[in-house]
């Protein structure tokens, strides 16, 4: 007799009756679930969560505004920054006693300073400040470029106009720059994201020979941004994503059939990033790369399993944190507004699965990841 057939037949045909208390336990469990289901619908938990979320969002906004105001006031800048009032280009006669007079092109740049801040000098000492608190340059453009404090403004304006200066006579121009240099900005942001929950199952699902099939999943987010220029080519930018939706769809072979799974996580997140500008002001827009960090607060999590929706809130960690990298191109659209677009990648550093009765947390290490197309509009506050 075939051993395996005999084994299967013996097991399936001659088993003992299970203890009676097993059914009692099953019934109790189902009763508890049924009662909880009825109670849960009447609990005002959802409303409490919404209020907490709104309070957290309001507190975050106030925090950003408060920190921004403090930085702004403590920087000593008043009024609307440092506008270039006019640029003069003229010829001066330079010479010494006994020598032939010669003409040399000189350039004078006058800036209006609303306060008494000390003006930095160029390394060759060619910048001076007169009694009317005007700054004068040295013999050429180049000393001006070494001005640390005013270099961005000056370079931008001078490079714009140098080619059009006439070597003779005097020319005066007035201009207000649109590109922020010491500025603050604030605006709105939105992302369309290709999102992933990275774990063994979804990674295996990318292989064609696996029964599980991971599917492209998309989420979105929107929020507010605020930033400050802190260096020649560096901005610090904070972003609050009021809603950040992460999805992971996959098909799974379970219980003898293919089941469609849709996991959905809704976060609110805060991020802070450094943005390095790759291009100078002479271009109509600017390219930048960014590196930063984010922390997200899980608001809700659910799984739709073949039409049955279950909550995953208790199975996943309320906190997600990770790193951000990205690229952005932004350009002025007038009246102090800028439009930016680019992409970001976000990669979670912590295991967001906190475990449940069936699976301990370390057997289902799960991380968030996303590739985002970004769109932002911001307003220069200076």
């Amino acid at each position: 007799m075939d051993f395996l057939k005999w084994y299967k037949k013996t097991v399936e045909s001659a088993g003992p009756e299970p203890p009676a208390e097993i059914w009692e336990e099953i019934r109790n469990e189902l009763d508890v679930d049924a009662v909880w289901y009825k109670i849960e619908k009447d609990l005002p938990a959802g409303r409490r969560k919404r209020i907490l979320f709104l309070m957290a969002a309001a507190a975050s906004i106030l925090l950003i505004i408060g920190v921004g105001t403090f930085l702004y006031l403590s920087s000593g800048v008043q009024g609307s920054g440092i506008p270039v009032s006019h640029i003069r280009h003229h010829q001066d006669q330079i010479g010494s006693a006994g020598s032939e007079p010669s003409f040399q092109t000189r350039l004078a740049v006058a800036l209006e300073f609303p306060d008494t801040r000390q003006i930095p000098y160029a390394q060759d000492g060619s910048i001076i400040q007169d009694a009317d608190r005007r700054i004068y340059s040295g013999e050429s453009l180049y000393p001006l470029q070494r001005l640390e404090y005013t270099s961005d403004l000056l370079e931008y304006d001078l490079k714009l106009h140098t080619g059009r200066f006439s070597p003779a006579g005097e020319e005066t121009r007035s201009r207000r720059l649109e590109i922020p240099t010491k500025g603050y900005y604030a605006g709105l942001s939105g992302n369309l994201a290709n999102t992933w929950l990275l774990n063994n199952k979804t990674l295996q699902g990318l292989r064609s020979d696996e029964l599980t099939a991971s599917l492209p999943s998309f989420g979105y987010s929107f929020g507010i941004i605020a930033g400050k220029n802190v260096g020649r080519n560096l901005d610090i930018q904070a972003e609050i994503q009021l809603i950040s939706l992460t999805r992971q769809n996959y098909n799974e072979y379970l219980h003898g059939k293919y089941l469609s799974n849709n996991m959905q996580f809704n976060y609110s997140s805060f991020s802070i990033s450094g943005k390095w500008y790759l291009s100078e002001y002479e271009k109509p827009g600017r390219h930048s790369i960014m590196l930063g960090a984010y922390a997200g607060l899980l608001r809700n999590a659910k799984q739709d399993l073949n039409g049955i929706t279950i909550s995953l809130r208790q199975d996943y960690d309320p906190i997600d944190f990770g790193v951000i990298t990205g690229y952005e191109y932004h350009f002025p659209v007038g009246n102090g507004f800028f439009l930016g677009t680019g992409f970001q990648t976000r990669f979670g550093l912590n295991n967001i699965f906190s475990g449940n009765d069936l699976i301990p947390y370390y057997l289902n290490n799960t991380r968030n990841a996303s590739i985002n197309l970004t769109l932002s509009v911001r307003y220069n506050l200076n």
């Binding site: 003992p16 019934r27 189902l30 379970l254």
Partner: protein
Amino acid sequence: MTTGGLNEEVILSGCRNNDRRSQELLYRHFAKKMYAICLSYAGERPMAQDILQESFIKVFKNIKQYKNDGSLEGWIRKIVSNTAIDHIRRRKRTDEYNEVDQNDPGTHTSNAAMNIIGFNELMEQVGRLPEGARLIFNLHALDGFTHKEIAQKLEITEGTSKSQFNRARKLLINFIGNMNL
């Protein structure tokens, strides 16, 4: 399936509406067979009872997913075997499926022994099998999973599944052969 004068459709409909009487009828109809399977997976009664209980809770919570596109018994058996895997996983990590027995047991048992031995005696010997090997043996012998499917379920190689199955089969034959009947 007909139970207590009710057919399967009526019982399923009641279960989908969370009717306790229908759930009990369904349980009573399949409990004995599924308990035997649980015993063969678990190798011990307490764990088998846990698996049976958890399996039927899953059955009733997910009964709406059953679309009559296969046998109800087969669907419940899949839940039982998956639940057994979860239970055994909780006790043993995947690496332990790879445990190697240096002693090659004998492969002969007599038809006479197979004719005499009953369920309880068989389960005693099954309970002596290493847990990982027992799980693989039952997945293949009882539930008909291929070694490729077992490898995917347990996240092991197909070769490990085959070797562990053969090892369990040889051990079990040897255990039965050495019984004092």
